[in-house]
Amino acid sequence: MIRVRGIRKAFGKQQVLRGVDFTLPAGQVLVIIGPSGSGKTTLLRCLNLLEVPDHGTLELGNVSFAFTPGAKLRPQDVLSLRKRTGMVFQSFNLFPHMTALGNVIEAQVTVQKKRKSEAEETARLLLGKVGLADRADYYPHKLSGGQQQRVAIARAMALEPEVLLFDEPTSALDPELAGEVLKVMKQLAAEGLTMVIVTHLMKFAEEVADHVLLMDEGLIVEEGPPHEVFRNPKSSRAAQFLSVLTD
Protein backbone atom coordinates (compact mmCIF):
# COMPACT_ATOMS: atom_id res chain seq x y z
CA MET A 1 0.00 0.00 0.00
CA ILE A 2 1.14 3.52 -0.76
CA ARG A 3 0.10 6.47 1.38
CA VAL A 4 1.04 10.02 0.39
CA ARG A 5 0.18 13.04 2.54
CA GLY A 6 0.74 16.73 1.87
CA ILE A 7 3.44 16.30 -0.77
CA ARG A 8 4.88 19.61 -1.92
CA LYS A 9 7.70 20.15 -4.34
CA ALA A 10 9.20 23.26 -5.90
CA PHE A 11 11.84 23.60 -8.60
CA GLY A 12 13.41 26.93 -7.77
CA LYS A 13 10.53 29.36 -7.38
CA GLN A 14 8.09 27.21 -9.29
CA GLN A 15 5.69 25.24 -7.09
CA VAL A 16 5.12 21.99 -9.01
CA LEU A 17 3.25 20.06 -6.33
CA ARG A 18 1.18 22.06 -3.88
CA GLY A 19 -0.04 19.53 -1.38
CA VAL A 20 -1.03 16.15 -2.76
CA ASP A 21 -2.67 13.32 -0.79
CA PHE A 22 -3.71 9.88 -1.89
CA THR A 23 -3.82 6.33 -0.70
CA LEU A 24 -3.44 3.35 -2.99
CA PRO A 25 -4.33 -0.07 -1.58
CA ALA A 26 -2.26 -3.03 -2.71
CA GLY A 27 -3.43 -4.71 -5.88
CA GLN A 28 -5.04 -1.59 -7.30
CA VAL A 29 -4.25 0.52 -10.32
CA LEU A 30 -4.05 4.28 -9.96
CA VAL A 31 -4.05 6.39 -13.11
CA ILE A 32 -2.90 10.01 -12.95
CA ILE A 33 -4.08 12.29 -15.73
CA GLY A 34 -3.91 16.00 -16.29
CA PRO A 35 -2.58 18.64 -18.66
CA SER A 36 1.14 19.07 -19.32
CA GLY A 37 2.85 20.82 -16.46
CA SER A 38 0.22 19.77 -13.94
CA GLY A 39 2.83 17.95 -11.85
CA LYS A 40 1.76 14.37 -12.55
CA THR A 41 5.20 13.13 -13.65
CA THR A 42 6.84 14.90 -10.70
CA LEU A 43 4.38 13.23 -8.35
CA LEU A 44 5.23 9.84 -9.84
CA ARG A 45 8.97 10.53 -9.53
CA CYS A 46 8.47 11.48 -5.89
CA LEU A 47 7.18 7.97 -5.25
CA ASN A 48 10.65 6.44 -5.81
CA LEU A 49 12.52 9.57 -4.76
CA LEU A 50 13.99 10.41 -8.14
CA GLU A 51 12.61 13.72 -6.93
CA VAL A 52 12.68 14.40 -3.22
CA PRO A 53 9.60 16.29 -1.99
CA ASP A 54 10.08 19.40 0.12
CA HIS A 55 7.20 18.63 2.48
CA GLY A 56 4.84 15.82 3.27
CA THR A 57 5.04 12.13 4.07
CA LEU A 58 5.36 9.01 1.97
CA GLU A 59 4.72 5.46 3.12
CA LEU A 60 5.23 2.30 1.13
CA GLY A 61 4.72 -0.95 2.98
CA ASN A 62 6.86 -0.55 6.06
CA VAL A 63 9.21 2.19 4.76
CA SER A 64 8.16 5.72 5.54
CA PHE A 65 9.55 9.18 5.00
CA ALA A 66 8.73 12.58 6.40
CA PHE A 67 10.15 15.34 4.23
CA THR A 68 11.38 18.73 5.34
CA PRO A 69 13.24 21.17 3.10
CA GLY A 70 16.99 20.60 3.00
CA ALA A 71 16.88 17.50 5.20
CA LYS A 72 19.11 14.64 4.07
CA LEU A 73 17.44 11.28 3.63
CA ARG A 74 19.27 8.21 4.85
CA PRO A 75 20.72 6.53 1.74
CA GLN A 76 19.77 3.05 2.93
CA ASP A 77 16.13 4.16 3.29
CA VAL A 78 16.14 5.56 -0.24
CA LEU A 79 17.63 2.32 -1.62
CA SER A 80 15.18 0.22 0.30
CA LEU A 81 12.26 2.24 -1.10
CA ARG A 82 13.61 1.98 -4.63
CA LYS A 83 13.98 -1.79 -4.36
CA ARG A 84 10.26 -1.93 -3.59
CA THR A 85 9.29 0.15 -6.60
CA GLY A 86 9.90 -0.46 -10.28
CA MET A 87 9.80 2.34 -12.81
CA VAL A 88 9.04 2.37 -16.52
CA PHE A 89 10.16 5.54 -18.29
CA GLN A 90 8.74 7.39 -21.26
CA SER A 91 12.04 7.01 -23.13
CA PHE A 92 12.60 3.37 -22.01
CA ASN A 93 16.15 4.01 -20.75
CA LEU A 94 17.27 0.46 -21.38
CA PHE A 95 20.97 -0.15 -20.82
CA PRO A 96 22.26 -0.13 -24.41
CA HIS A 97 25.39 -2.14 -23.63
CA MET A 98 23.42 -5.12 -22.35
CA THR A 99 21.10 -7.54 -24.09
CA ALA A 100 17.41 -7.66 -23.21
CA LEU A 101 18.24 -10.53 -20.88
CA GLY A 102 21.19 -8.64 -19.39
CA ASN A 103 18.95 -5.66 -18.70
CA VAL A 104 16.55 -7.80 -16.70
CA ILE A 105 19.33 -9.71 -14.90
CA GLU A 106 21.36 -6.64 -13.94
CA ALA A 107 19.68 -5.35 -10.78
CA GLN A 108 19.06 -8.84 -9.46
CA VAL A 109 22.80 -9.51 -9.46
CA THR A 110 24.12 -6.03 -8.62
CA VAL A 111 21.48 -4.95 -6.12
CA GLN A 112 19.90 -8.15 -4.83
CA LYS A 113 23.14 -10.16 -5.00
CA LYS A 114 21.32 -13.11 -6.52
CA ARG A 115 23.28 -15.84 -8.22
CA LYS A 116 23.60 -15.25 -11.95
CA SER A 117 21.86 -18.51 -12.86
CA GLU A 118 18.94 -17.78 -10.60
CA ALA A 119 18.67 -14.22 -11.93
CA GLU A 120 18.71 -15.51 -15.48
CA GLU A 121 15.87 -17.89 -14.76
CA THR A 122 13.76 -15.05 -13.36
CA ALA A 123 14.72 -12.82 -16.28
CA ARG A 124 13.68 -15.40 -18.86
CA LEU A 125 10.38 -15.89 -17.08
CA LEU A 126 9.71 -12.14 -17.11
CA LEU A 127 10.70 -11.74 -20.75
CA GLY A 128 8.29 -14.58 -21.53
CA LYS A 129 5.58 -12.73 -19.64
CA VAL A 130 5.99 -9.63 -21.81
CA GLY A 131 6.09 -11.81 -24.93
CA LEU A 132 9.77 -11.44 -25.72
CA ALA A 133 11.26 -14.81 -24.79
CA ASP A 134 12.68 -15.08 -28.31
CA ARG A 135 14.37 -11.65 -28.10
CA ALA A 136 16.38 -12.35 -24.93
CA ASP A 137 19.75 -12.08 -26.66
CA TYR A 138 19.00 -8.93 -28.66
CA TYR A 139 20.62 -5.63 -27.83
CA PRO A 140 18.12 -2.78 -27.32
CA HIS A 141 18.92 -1.00 -30.59
CA LYS A 142 17.86 -4.12 -32.49
CA LEU A 143 14.40 -4.02 -30.91
CA SER A 144 11.39 -1.89 -31.87
CA GLY A 145 10.23 0.82 -29.48
CA GLY A 146 7.36 -1.34 -28.29
CA GLN A 147 9.69 -4.26 -27.67
CA GLN A 148 12.15 -2.04 -25.82
CA GLN A 149 9.41 -0.76 -23.56
CA ARG A 150 8.27 -4.31 -22.84
CA VAL A 151 11.85 -5.23 -21.89
CA ALA A 152 11.82 -2.17 -19.64
CA ILE A 153 8.65 -3.46 -17.97
CA ALA A 154 10.30 -6.84 -17.40
CA ARG A 155 13.35 -5.06 -15.98
CA ALA A 156 11.18 -3.01 -13.64
CA MET A 157 9.57 -6.21 -12.36
CA ALA A 158 12.84 -8.04 -11.83
CA LEU A 159 13.16 -7.13 -8.16
CA GLU A 160 9.54 -8.12 -7.50
CA PRO A 161 8.57 -4.59 -6.50
CA GLU A 162 5.45 -3.88 -4.48
CA VAL A 163 4.42 -1.24 -6.98
CA LEU A 164 5.17 -0.47 -10.62
CA LEU A 165 5.38 3.17 -11.69
CA PHE A 166 4.74 4.08 -15.33
CA ASP A 167 5.69 7.51 -16.63
CA GLU A 168 3.79 8.02 -19.90
CA PRO A 169 5.01 4.64 -21.10
CA THR A 170 3.56 4.92 -24.60
CA SER A 171 4.13 8.59 -25.39
CA ALA A 172 7.26 7.85 -27.41
CA LEU A 173 5.54 5.13 -29.43
CA ASP A 174 3.30 5.18 -32.46
CA PRO A 175 -0.20 3.75 -31.84
CA GLU A 176 0.50 0.30 -33.20
CA LEU A 177 3.53 -0.22 -30.96
CA ALA A 178 1.77 1.44 -28.04
CA GLY A 179 -0.92 -1.22 -28.32
CA GLU A 180 1.45 -4.08 -27.49
CA VAL A 181 2.73 -2.23 -24.42
CA LEU A 182 -0.79 -1.43 -23.23
CA LYS A 183 -1.76 -5.06 -23.66
CA VAL A 184 1.06 -6.14 -21.34
CA MET A 185 0.06 -3.48 -18.80
CA LYS A 186 -3.58 -4.60 -18.84
CA GLN A 187 -2.49 -8.16 -18.28
CA LEU A 188 -0.35 -7.11 -15.29
CA ALA A 189 -3.25 -5.11 -13.88
CA ALA A 190 -5.49 -8.15 -14.24
CA GLU A 191 -2.93 -10.22 -12.33
CA GLY A 192 -3.32 -7.84 -9.41
CA LEU A 193 -0.10 -5.86 -9.53
CA THR A 194 -0.16 -2.52 -7.80
CA MET A 195 0.46 0.13 -10.43
CA VAL A 196 0.63 3.90 -10.70
CA ILE A 197 0.34 5.08 -14.29
CA VAL A 198 0.76 8.57 -15.69
CA THR A 199 -0.82 8.68 -19.13
CA HIS A 200 -2.68 10.77 -21.67
CA LEU A 201 -4.69 7.84 -22.97
CA MET A 202 -8.17 8.27 -21.51
CA LYS A 203 -9.67 5.15 -23.02
CA PHE A 204 -6.89 3.02 -21.59
CA ALA A 205 -7.19 4.81 -18.24
CA GLU A 206 -10.88 4.04 -18.11
CA GLU A 207 -10.30 0.36 -18.87
CA VAL A 208 -7.47 -0.29 -16.47
CA ALA A 209 -7.85 2.11 -13.53
CA ASP A 210 -9.40 1.36 -10.17
CA HIS A 211 -8.94 4.97 -9.23
CA VAL A 212 -8.17 8.11 -11.24
CA LEU A 213 -6.50 11.31 -10.11
CA LEU A 214 -6.89 14.38 -12.28
CA MET A 215 -4.22 16.93 -11.53
CA ASP A 216 -3.92 20.57 -12.45
CA GLU A 217 -1.33 23.10 -11.34
CA GLY A 218 0.12 20.85 -8.68
CA LEU A 219 -3.15 19.85 -7.06
CA ILE A 220 -5.60 17.00 -7.39
CA VAL A 221 -8.71 18.63 -8.83
CA GLU A 222 -10.84 15.53 -9.25
CA GLU A 223 -10.57 11.91 -8.16
CA GLY A 224 -12.61 8.78 -7.99
CA PRO A 225 -13.39 5.62 -9.92
CA PRO A 226 -12.85 6.13 -13.65
CA HIS A 227 -16.50 6.10 -14.73
CA GLU A 228 -17.29 8.89 -12.27
CA VAL A 229 -14.28 11.03 -13.13
CA PHE A 230 -14.78 10.61 -16.85
CA ARG A 231 -18.60 10.64 -17.06
CA ASN A 232 -19.62 12.95 -14.22
CA PRO A 233 -16.76 15.23 -13.23
CA LYS A 234 -17.67 17.31 -10.21
CA SER A 235 -15.26 20.18 -10.76
CA SER A 236 -15.52 22.58 -13.66
CA ARG A 237 -11.72 22.31 -14.25
CA ALA A 238 -12.04 18.56 -14.75
CA ALA A 239 -15.02 18.95 -17.04
CA GLN A 240 -13.11 21.46 -19.10
CA PHE A 241 -9.99 19.27 -19.35
CA LEU A 242 -12.01 16.20 -20.33
CA SER A 243 -14.04 18.05 -22.93
CA VAL A 244 -10.87 19.26 -24.63
CA LEU A 245 -9.62 15.67 -24.77
CA THR A 246 -12.79 14.18 -26.22
CA ASP A 247 -13.05 16.86 -28.93
Binding site: N48, L50, P75, L79, S80, R82, K83, T85, G86, M87, F89, S91, N93, L94, F95, P96, H97, E106, A107, T110, V111, Y139, H141, R155, A156, A158, L159
Partner: protein, 222 residues
Protein backbone atom coordinates in the same frame (compact mmCIF):
# COMPACT_ATOMS: atom_id res chain seq x y z
CA UNK B 1 71.87 8.55 -53.09
CA UNK B 2 75.33 7.11 -53.01
CA UNK B 3 76.02 3.46 -52.28
CA UNK B 4 77.38 4.54 -48.92
CA UNK B 5 74.14 6.34 -48.07
CA UNK B 6 72.02 3.38 -49.12
CA UNK B 7 74.24 1.20 -46.99
CA UNK B 8 73.75 3.51 -43.97
CA UNK B 9 69.97 3.55 -44.37
CA UNK B 10 69.69 -0.23 -44.66
CA UNK B 11 72.15 -0.85 -41.85
CA UNK B 12 70.32 1.46 -39.48
CA UNK B 13 66.80 0.24 -40.25
CA UNK B 14 66.89 -2.78 -37.95
CA UNK B 15 68.60 -1.02 -35.03
CA UNK B 16 66.01 1.76 -35.26
CA UNK B 17 63.06 -0.61 -35.52
CA UNK B 18 64.51 -2.63 -32.65
CA UNK B 19 64.70 0.49 -30.46
CA UNK B 20 61.11 1.24 -31.44
CA UNK B 21 59.86 -2.22 -30.60
CA UNK B 22 61.94 -2.59 -27.42
CA UNK B 23 61.55 0.92 -26.00
CA UNK B 24 59.15 3.26 -27.84
CA UNK B 25 56.25 0.80 -27.94
CA UNK B 26 56.62 -0.56 -24.37
CA UNK B 27 57.07 2.98 -23.00
CA UNK B 28 53.90 4.02 -24.84
CA UNK B 29 51.91 1.02 -23.64
CA UNK B 30 53.02 1.26 -20.01
CA UNK B 31 52.46 5.00 -19.75
CA UNK B 32 49.13 4.77 -21.54
CA UNK B 33 47.88 2.08 -19.15
CA UNK B 34 49.04 4.00 -16.07
CA UNK B 35 47.87 7.30 -17.52
CA UNK B 36 44.43 5.91 -18.32
CA UNK B 37 44.04 4.67 -14.77
CA UNK B 38 45.09 8.07 -13.51
CA UNK B 39 42.71 9.73 -15.98
CA UNK B 40 39.72 7.74 -14.71
CA UNK B 41 40.57 8.37 -11.06
CA UNK B 42 41.12 12.08 -11.76
CA UNK B 43 37.90 12.44 -13.74
CA UNK B 44 35.88 10.72 -11.01
CA UNK B 45 37.60 12.78 -8.31
CA UNK B 46 36.85 16.01 -10.14
CA UNK B 47 33.21 15.08 -10.59
CA UNK B 48 32.22 13.28 -7.42
CA UNK B 49 34.86 13.43 -4.71
CA UNK B 50 34.95 15.28 -1.43
CA UNK B 51 35.78 18.96 -2.15
CA UNK B 52 39.49 19.01 -1.14
CA UNK B 53 40.17 15.96 -3.33
CA UNK B 54 38.34 17.68 -6.16
CA UNK B 55 40.69 20.64 -5.81
CA UNK B 56 43.77 18.41 -5.76
CA UNK B 57 42.60 16.75 -8.98
CA UNK B 58 41.84 20.11 -10.58
CA UNK B 59 45.22 21.49 -9.53
CA UNK B 60 47.03 18.50 -11.04
CA UNK B 61 45.24 18.88 -14.37
CA UNK B 62 45.90 22.63 -14.35
CA UNK B 63 49.65 22.20 -13.77
CA UNK B 64 50.18 19.41 -16.28
CA UNK B 65 48.11 20.97 -19.05
CA UNK B 66 49.56 24.40 -18.44
CA UNK B 67 53.25 23.53 -18.68
CA UNK B 68 55.26 21.98 -21.53
CA UNK B 69 55.80 18.24 -21.38
CA UNK B 70 59.47 18.79 -22.21
CA UNK B 71 59.88 21.06 -19.19
CA UNK B 72 58.12 18.49 -16.99
CA UNK B 73 60.53 15.79 -18.16
CA UNK B 74 63.50 18.05 -17.40
CA UNK B 75 62.19 18.77 -13.91
CA UNK B 76 61.72 15.07 -13.19
CA UNK B 77 65.04 13.88 -14.63
CA UNK B 78 67.45 16.80 -14.11
CA UNK B 79 65.66 18.75 -11.36
CA UNK B 80 64.56 16.19 -8.80
CA UNK B 81 68.12 14.90 -8.10
CA UNK B 82 68.74 18.33 -6.53
CA UNK B 83 66.31 17.35 -3.76
CA UNK B 84 67.81 13.88 -3.49
CA UNK B 85 65.37 12.10 -5.79
CA UNK B 86 67.44 10.59 -8.58
CA UNK B 87 65.57 8.51 -11.11
CA UNK B 88 66.84 6.63 -14.14
CA UNK B 89 65.72 7.77 -17.56
CA UNK B 90 63.16 4.98 -18.01
CA UNK B 91 61.22 5.58 -14.77
CA UNK B 92 61.48 9.34 -15.31
CA UNK B 93 59.94 8.96 -18.75
CA UNK B 94 57.21 6.67 -17.44
CA UNK B 95 56.29 9.14 -14.70
CA UNK B 96 56.38 12.18 -16.99
CA UNK B 97 54.30 10.67 -19.79
CA UNK B 98 51.83 8.99 -17.42
CA UNK B 99 51.12 12.28 -15.68
CA UNK B 100 50.53 13.88 -19.04
CA UNK B 101 48.19 11.15 -20.31
CA UNK B 102 46.38 11.23 -16.97
CA UNK B 103 45.69 14.96 -17.14
CA UNK B 104 44.58 15.15 -20.76
CA UNK B 105 42.79 11.80 -20.56
CA UNK B 106 40.81 12.91 -17.52
CA UNK B 107 39.13 15.56 -19.65
CA UNK B 108 38.20 12.95 -22.25
CA UNK B 109 36.84 10.59 -19.60
CA UNK B 110 34.92 13.40 -17.93
CA UNK B 111 33.34 14.48 -21.20
CA UNK B 112 32.38 10.88 -21.93
CA UNK B 113 30.72 10.42 -18.53
CA UNK B 114 28.82 13.68 -18.92
CA UNK B 115 27.64 12.62 -22.38
CA UNK B 116 25.73 9.63 -21.02
CA UNK B 117 22.02 10.50 -20.83
CA UNK B 118 20.52 11.33 -17.47
CA UNK B 119 17.93 8.62 -18.09
CA UNK B 120 20.61 5.96 -17.67
CA UNK B 121 21.37 7.18 -14.16
CA UNK B 122 17.67 7.35 -13.37
CA UNK B 123 17.06 3.84 -14.65
CA UNK B 124 19.94 2.56 -12.49
CA UNK B 125 18.73 4.47 -9.43
CA UNK B 126 15.16 3.33 -9.95
CA UNK B 127 16.44 -0.25 -9.66
CA UNK B 128 17.96 0.49 -6.27
CA UNK B 129 21.57 0.93 -7.35
CA UNK B 130 23.92 3.16 -5.40
CA UNK B 131 25.91 5.81 -7.22
CA UNK B 132 28.99 3.60 -7.24
CA UNK B 133 27.04 0.65 -8.65
CA UNK B 134 25.42 2.85 -11.29
CA UNK B 135 28.81 4.23 -12.31
CA UNK B 136 30.54 0.88 -12.42
CA UNK B 137 27.84 -1.16 -14.14
CA UNK B 138 25.92 1.34 -16.26
CA UNK B 139 27.74 4.63 -16.83
CA UNK B 140 31.44 3.76 -17.15
CA UNK B 141 30.97 0.90 -19.66
CA UNK B 142 29.04 3.29 -21.90
CA UNK B 143 31.47 6.14 -21.31
CA UNK B 144 34.33 3.80 -22.23
CA UNK B 145 32.76 3.29 -25.63
CA UNK B 146 32.31 6.99 -26.17
CA UNK B 147 35.91 7.70 -25.27
CA UNK B 148 37.56 5.10 -27.51
CA UNK B 149 38.02 7.40 -30.53
CA UNK B 150 39.54 10.37 -28.62
CA UNK B 151 41.67 8.04 -26.48
CA UNK B 152 42.89 6.35 -29.64
CA UNK B 153 44.05 9.73 -30.87
CA UNK B 154 45.77 10.35 -27.55
CA UNK B 155 47.61 7.07 -27.85
CA UNK B 156 48.88 7.86 -31.34
CA UNK B 157 49.98 11.26 -30.06
CA UNK B 158 51.73 9.59 -27.14
CA UNK B 159 53.73 7.24 -29.37
CA UNK B 160 55.13 10.26 -31.19
CA UNK B 161 55.64 12.26 -27.99
CA UNK B 162 57.84 9.53 -26.53
CA UNK B 163 60.55 10.87 -28.85
CA UNK B 164 60.90 13.65 -26.26
CA UNK B 165 62.39 11.05 -23.92
CA UNK B 166 65.50 11.24 -26.07
CA UNK B 167 66.45 14.50 -24.36
CA UNK B 168 66.49 12.82 -20.97
CA UNK B 169 68.87 10.20 -22.40
CA UNK B 170 66.31 7.41 -22.70
CA UNK B 171 67.41 5.10 -25.50
CA UNK B 172 64.17 5.01 -27.44
CA UNK B 173 63.95 5.13 -31.21
CA UNK B 174 64.69 8.82 -31.78
CA UNK B 175 67.68 8.76 -29.43
CA UNK B 176 68.98 5.77 -31.37
CA UNK B 177 68.68 7.79 -34.58
CA UNK B 178 70.62 10.65 -32.99
CA UNK B 179 73.37 8.23 -31.99
CA UNK B 180 73.65 6.87 -35.51
CA UNK B 181 73.78 10.44 -36.89
CA UNK B 182 76.65 11.17 -34.51
CA UNK B 183 78.78 8.50 -36.17
CA UNK B 184 77.60 8.76 -39.79
CA UNK B 185 76.94 12.52 -40.19
CA UNK B 186 73.79 11.89 -42.22
CA UNK B 187 71.11 13.80 -40.30
CA UNK B 188 68.68 14.25 -43.20
CA UNK B 189 68.69 10.57 -44.09
CA UNK B 190 68.49 9.22 -40.56
CA UNK B 191 65.86 11.62 -39.29
CA UNK B 192 63.71 10.99 -42.36
CA UNK B 193 64.15 7.29 -41.86
CA UNK B 194 63.06 7.45 -38.25
CA UNK B 195 60.13 9.66 -39.28
CA UNK B 196 59.03 6.94 -41.68
CA UNK B 197 59.13 4.36 -38.90
CA UNK B 198 56.99 6.62 -36.66
CA UNK B 199 54.61 7.00 -39.60
CA UNK B 200 54.49 3.23 -39.93
CA UNK B 201 53.60 2.86 -36.23
CA UNK B 202 50.92 5.58 -36.39
CA UNK B 203 49.38 4.09 -39.50
CA UNK B 204 49.10 0.65 -37.93
CA UNK B 205 47.52 2.23 -34.86
CA UNK B 206 45.02 4.23 -36.95
CA UNK B 207 43.93 1.03 -38.64
CA UNK B 208 43.52 -0.69 -35.27
CA UNK B 209 41.54 2.32 -34.06
CA UNK B 210 39.13 2.07 -37.00
CA UNK B 211 38.68 -1.64 -36.45
CA UNK B 212 37.93 -1.17 -32.75
CA UNK B 213 35.47 1.63 -33.46
CA UNK B 214 33.61 -0.51 -35.93
CA UNK B 215 33.59 -3.35 -33.40
CA UNK B 216 32.07 -1.13 -30.72
CA UNK B 217 29.44 0.23 -33.09
CA UNK B 218 27.93 -3.22 -33.35
CA UNK B 219 26.43 -2.74 -29.92
CA UNK B 220 25.03 0.72 -30.28
CA UNK B 221 23.00 2.30 -33.01
CA UNK B 222 23.91 5.82 -31.97
Amino acid sequence: MSDRQIQIVTDSFWPLLKAGVLYTIPLSLITFALGLLLAIVTALARMYAWAPLRWVAGFYVWIIRGTPLLVQLFIIFFGLPMVGLTLDAYPSAIIGFSLSVGAYGSEIVRAAIVSIQKGQWEAAYSLGMTRVQALRRIILPQAARVSVPPLGNSFIGLVKDTSLAAVITFAEMFRRAQQIVATTYEPLLLYCEVAVIYLLFSTVLSVLQNVSERYLERYSAS
